[in-house]
C-alpha cells in the first residue's frame, strides 16, 4: 500500500488545529507558531504532491478510497486532478501567508489568538477535503461544515458590525446548503433507482438522468454554489463579510474558501448534469456578465476599502463563472486558472489594505491620501496588488482573464464583449482607489506612517512574486488544468468551436496546434 | 347488552376529563382530570378487548395504569415543588415558558 499522501495533506492542518487549540491560554505566540508551523508543513506536503502533477515526477500520489458509510455507498474518496490541484496548491499556499498576516489581528480585537489560528487550520483542512473529495456526500458535509469555523472567525474577530455580517454569511450559505442537501439526496435517489446506491462521483457521473430531474438537481447544486461563489444576485453577504471580517480572514474567505463554490460548478455540476448545464448555460452566462459589470460598478461607488475589494471579488467571480459556463476549453481552463490567480491577487489586496487599516485605524478611503510619501514600499506593494487585480499583463491574472474572455467569445460573443467592459471598470476602481489613498498631498493623519516591516514584506512578497512568475510561466499549471478540463467538457457533450479559417494544414505545427 | 354503550360512556368520560383540564386552574384538579381521561381510554381498551376476544387490550390498559402511576408520582412531586416556591397550585401562575 502506498503512502496516503492526500489524507496526510488533510490530516496535517486538522492535527495542527487540535494542537493549536491545546496550547495553554495565554501562550498566544506559541499557538501562532504551532499553527503557522503546521500550515508550512502542509505547504511542503502540498508542494511535493504538486510536483508530480506539474512536472511529471512520480511521487506516489494515488487516489484514495476508504469505507465511510458503506450502507449508503459513501466513502472517504480522494483524488487529485488538474482542477483540484490548482486549488489545493492555492489553499496550501495561502494558509501560511494568511496565518502570518493575521499575526496581530486577534490581539487588536482583544481576543485570544489561539482560537483564531486553530479555526483557520480547520477551514484549511475542510477546504482541502472539499477540493480533493470524490464523494458527493463527503463534499456536501465539508461544504457545510466549513461555514461553522468561518462563522466564528467572522463573528468573533471582526469589526463593529461583525455579528450581523457573520449571521448574514451563515444564513445565506445555509440556504444554499439546504438546496444542495435536497439535490444531494435527489442524486442519491437516482443512483438507488439505477440499482447501485453510491455517492462516488464517477459512479454518479456515469448515471443517465433524465433532463427534467437534471434540471431540479442542477438548480439545487447551482444555488448553493452561486451563493458561495457569489453570483449576482446572491452576493450581498460578501461585501458585509469582507468589510467586517479581519483583513486576513476576508482574504482567506474570498480568496480561498469561496473557491469551493466555483470548484463545485466545474467539478461537480458540469459532469453531473451535462444536459441541464448546457441548457442553463446562457442564463448563467448572463448572470455572470451582470456580476462582472455590477460588481465593478459598485466597487467604484464604495467608500470603504474592504467593501470595495469585496465588490471587486464579485466582479472577478463573475469572470470565473462566465468561463465555466462558456463551455469551451480556453474559457474553462482560464476560469480554473483564474480561481488561483484571483486567490493570490485578492489575498494580496486584502492583506495590504489590512496593513493600511491597521496603521491608520480606519477603513474609509477618504481618511487616506498621499501615503506613498511616508510609506513608499507600502504604496508600491499596494499598486502591484492592485495591478494584479485589474489583470495587467504579464501578471498571471491577465492570462486567465484573457482566456475567459476569448473562450467566451467563441460561443457567446455579446456576453464576451460586455464582459470586456470589465477590464475598463477594473482599471477605474483600482486606480481611483490608489489615487485617492496613495497619491496627492500628504494628509496630516498619514504623516509618519511607518513603512512595511519585515514580517509584512514576508507576507506579501511571495504572493507578488508568484503572480509575476506564474504570469510569465503559466504553462505547467495551465497544462495540468487543461488536461483535467477537457474530459469535463467531453462529459458535458459540447464541441470546441473550430476556427473559422484554420491555419493551413502544414502551418499547424508551427503554431503548436 | 351492546358493548358500544361502554364506548359511548368512555367518550363522555374522556370529554369531561378534557374539559376539566381545559377549564380548571387548580393543578391538582387538572391532573385528576388527566387521570380521568386515561381511565376513559382504559375503559375503551377493556371494552375492545372483550369485543374482539383479544387480551391485548387489557394488557395495554394495565400498562396505562402503571405508567399513570409513575406519572402521578412525578407530577405530584412537581406540583409540591412548585407550591413550595410559589405558594400557589394554579397552573396559570406557572407561565414562564414563553418568549
Amino acid at each position: 500500500m502506498t503512502f496516503p499522501w492526500l489524507t496526510t495533506l488533510i490530516a496535517l492542518p486538522a492535527l495542527g488545529a487540535v494542537l493549536t487549540a491545546l496550547v495553554p491560554t495565554g501562550r498566544g505566540t506559541l499557538a501562532k507558531q504551532v499553527a503557522t508551523g503546521f500550515a508550512l508543513l502542509t505547504l511542503v506536503v502540498g508542494a511535493l504532491i504538486s510536483i508530480q502533477y506539474l512536472f511529471d515526477v512520480d511521487m506516489g500520489v494515488e487516489p484514495e478510497t476508504y469505507e465511510w458509510i458503506p450502507e449508503f455507498g459513501a466513502s472517504w474518496a480522494l483524488d487529485l486532478h488538474g482542477i483540484s490541484l490548482a486549488l489545493v496548491a492555492l489553499t496550501v499556499l495561502a494558509t501560511p501567508i494568511v496565518a502570518l498576516s493575521m499575526w496581530h489581528e486577534a490581539e487588536d480585537e482583544k481576543r485570544d489568538p489561539k482560537a483564531f489560528f486553530a479555526l483557520l487550520l480547520v477551514v484549511e483542512a475542510l477546504t482541502l477535503t472539499a477540493f480533493l473529495s470524490q464523494d458527493v456526500l463527503l463534499f456536501y458535509v465539508v461544504f457545510e461544515a466549513m461555514l461553522i469555523p468561518l462563522y466564528f472567525m467572522i463573528g468573533m474577530y471582526g469589526g463593529p458590525q461583525r455579528r450581523y455580517a457573520a449571521v448574514k454569511f451563515l444564513l445565506y450559505n445555509l440556504v444554499g446548503g439546504l438546496a444542495m442537501l435536497a439535490a444531494v439526496i435527489g442524486l442519491y435517489v437516482q443512483s438507488v433507482e439505477a440499482g447501485d446506491p453510491s455517492f462516488f462521483l464517477p459512479d454518479l457521473v456515469a448515471l443517465d438522468i433524465d433532463t427534467t430531474t437534471q434540471w431540479w438537481l442542477f438548480v439545487g447544486f447551482m444555488l448553493a454554489f452561486a451563493i458561495k461563489a457569489p453570483l449576482w444576485p446572491f452576493h450581498t453577504w460578501l461585501p458585509d463579510a469582507a468589510a467586517e471580517a479581519t483583513p486576513s480572514n476576508a482574504a482567506f474567505l474570498s480568496g480561498v474558501a469561496d473557491k469551493v463554490g466555483t470548484y463545485g460548478m466545474i467539478a461537480l455540476v458540469l459532469p453531473l448534469f451535462p444536459d441541464a448545464s448546457r441548457d442553463a448555460a446562457p442564463v448563467i452566462v448572463v448572470l455572470a456578465v451582470v456580476s462582472i459589470i455590477y460588481g465593478a460598478l459598485l466597487a467604484i461607488g464604495q467608500t470603504d476599502m474592504k467593501r470595495l475589494i469585496g465588490y471587486t471579488s464579485i466582479s472577478h467571480f463573475g469572470f470565473i463563472v462566465l468561463g465555466i459556463f462558456a463551455l469551451t476549453g480556453q474559457a474553462a481552463t482560464g476560469a480554473t486558472f483564474y480561481m488561483v490567480n484571483h486567490g493570490l491577487s485578492t489575498i494580496a489586496l486584502f492583506v495590504v489594505v489590512g496593513f493600511l487599516i491597521r496603521r491608520r485605524g480606519s477603513r474609509q478611503v477618504d481618511d487616506f491620501g498621499g501615503v506613498q510619501k511616508p510609506a513608499p514600499k507600502l504604496a508600491g506593494v499596494f499598486l502591484f496588488a492592485g495591478l494584479s487585480g485589474l489583470a495587467l499583463p504579464p501578471l498571471s491574472t491577465f492570462l486567465s482573464e484573457f482566456l475567459v474572455i476569448s473562450g467566451t467569445f467563441l460561443r457567446y460573443r455579446p456576453a464576451a464583449i460586455v464582459a470586456t467592459l470589465g477590464i475598463v471598470l477594473s482599471a477605474l476602481y483600482i486606480l481611483w482607489l490608489y489615487q485617492r489613498t496613495m497619491t496627492g498631498p500628504v494628509r496630516p493623519a498619514v504623516e509618519g506612517m511607518p513603512d512595511l516591516r519585515t514580517r509584512e514584506v514576508a507576507v506579501v512578497a511571495p504572493l507578488l512574486a508568484l503572480l509575476l512568475v506564474v504570469g510569465f510561466f503559466p504553462k505547467p499549471l495551465t497544462d495540468a488544468i487543461d488536461e483535467a478540463v477537457e474530459p469535463t467538457l467531453v462529459e458535458v457533450g459540447v464541441d470546441q468551436p473550430e476556427p473559422l479559417a484554420p491555419v493551413a494544414e502544414h502551418a499547424e505545427e508551427g503554431t503548436g496546434r | 347488552m351492546n358493548p358500544t354503550n361502554y364506548l359511548v360512556l368512555s367518550v363522555i368520560l374522556f370529554a369531561i376529563g378534557a374539559s376539566g383540564v381545559l377549564i380548571r386552574r387548580n393543578a391538582l384538579v387538572a391532573f385528576m382530570s388527566v387521570e380521568l381521561m386515561l381511565n376513559a381510554a382504559n375503559l375503551a381498551f377493556v371494552t375492545f378487548a372483550r369485543m374482539h376476544g383479544n387480551l391485548d387490550g387489557q394488557i395495554v390498559a394495565f400498562f396505562v395504569m402503571v405508567v399513570a402511576a409513575a406519572e402521578v408520582v412525578v407530577g405530584l412531586a412537581i406540583i409540591v415543588t412548585i407550591f413550595r416556591t410559589r405558594r400557589s397550585a394554579s397552573v396559570d401562575d406557572a407561565s414562564l415558558l414563553k418568549l
Binding site: - | 364506548l7 374522556f14 377493556v46 372483550r50 369485543m51 383479544n54 412531586a77 397550585a89
Partner: protein, 274 residues
C-alpha cells in the same frame, strides 16, 4: 341482563363523579368524586371479564393514586377552593368548541364504526382464567415492555424524591438550642412551650385556636402555615363577646360557654384564592 342493570346504574354514577370532579370548587371534593368514578369503572372492568384489571384499578388507582392525591391536597391545603372567573381570554369558548368538536367526532367514529353487536368474549383467549392469561402475556409477549415500565417506575420514584428533596442550607437547631433560645429571647409566658391547638375549644382540630384559661383564644396555638394559607379558623369566632344575657348570667354568677358565630358557612370562611 345483570350487566345491563349494572351498567345503567353505575354509568350515571361514573358520569356524575366525573362532572363532580370538574365542577367541584374544592379539590378534595373533586378527588372523592373521582374515586367514585374509578370504583364504578372497576366494576365495569370486572363486568367485562377483566377481573384482574378491576382489582388493580381499585388497589392501584383508588387505593394508591387517589390517596397520593389526597395527601398532596392536604399538603397544599384541603380547604382552598378555586375561583370560577376565567382569566385567559377566550379560553372557555375555545375549550367548549374543542371539546364539542372532539365529542362529536369521537361519537361519529364510535357510531359509524361497524362493531359486533355481541362481544366475542374472552373465553377463548383465556382458557385458564383471566389472571394466568394476562400473566402469560405480560411475561411473554410484553416482557420487554414490562421491564421498561418497571424501570420507569423506579425512575419516577427516584425522580419524585429528588424533586421534593430540599437541601438543608442552615444548621438545624437542636431541641436544646431551641429551649435555650426560648428562655433567653422569647416572652416568659411562652417559655414552657406554645399552647396546643384545640385545647378547651369546642373542636380539637388543628385549625381551631386553643382557649386560654381566661377564655380568650390564643393565636399562637395555630400553625403559622395554616394562618398564612387562610385555612385557620379566625380566633374572633371564639372570643367571648358578652351579650346582655351574658351580663345577666354573669351577674347570676354562672359561667357559660363563650358564644360566637358558630356554624357559619365553611365556604364563606375559606380564604378565596384568586
Amino acid at each position: 341482563m345483570g350487566e345491563a342493570a349494572l351498567f345503567w346504574i353505575m354509568a350515571p354514577i361514573a358520569v356524575l363523579g366525573a362532572l363532580g370532579l370538574v365542577f367541584s370548587r374544592k379539590a378534595v371534593h373533586g378527588a372523592l368524586c373521582l374515586a367514585a368514578t374509578m370504583v364504578s369503572l372497576a366494576l365495569f372492568y370486572i363486568a367485562q371479564e377483566a377481573p384482574f384489571l378491576g382489582v388493580v384499578q381499585i388497589v392501584v388507582y383508588t387505593g394508591a393514586i387517589m390517596m397520593l392525591f389526597l395527601f398532596v391536597i392536604m399538603l397544599v391545603g384541603v380547604d382552598s377552593s378555586d375561583s370560577r372567573v376565567e382569566t385567559i381570554r377566550g379560553q372557555r369558548v375555545a375549550a367548549t368548541l374543542a371539546i364539542l368538536g372532539v365529542v362529536l367526532l369521537l361519537s361519529a367514529v364510535t357510531i359509524r364504526a361497524t362493531l359486533p353487536e355481541e362481544p366475542a368474549g374472552l373465553a377463548q383467549a383465556s382458557p385458564d382464567g383471566n389472571v394466568p392469561a394476562i400473566a402469560d402475556l405480560i411475561f411473554g409477549t410484553y416482557f420487554w415492555a414490562f421491564e421498561v415500565v418497571a424501570a420507569l417506575l423506579i425512575t419516577a420514584a427516584v425522580g419524585a424524591m429528588t424533586l421534593t428533596h430540599r437541601e438543608r442550607i442552615f444548621h438545624r437547631p437542636t431541641q436544646k438550642e431551641l429551649s435555650i433560645k426560648r428562655f433567653s429571647e422569647g416572652p416568659p409566658e411562652e417559655a414552657a412551650g406554645l399552647p396546643v391547638p384545640g385545647v378547651y375549644a369546642r373542636h380539637n382540630a388543628v385549625d381551631t385556636p386553643a382557649l386560654l384559661p381566661d377564655g380568650t383564644p390564643s393565636e399562637a396555638s395555630i400553625n403559622r402555615v395554616l394562618v398564612a394559607r387562610g385555612a385557620a379558623r379566625s380566633s374572633d369566632e371564639f372570643r367571648h363577646h358578652p351579650t346582655p344575657a351574658d351580663v345577666e348570667a354573669a351577674a347570676e354568677g354562672e359561667t357559660d360557654e363563650p358564644a360566637g358565630q358558630i356554624g357559619a358557612d365553611d365556604d364563606a370562611r375559606g380564604g378565596e384564592r384568586a
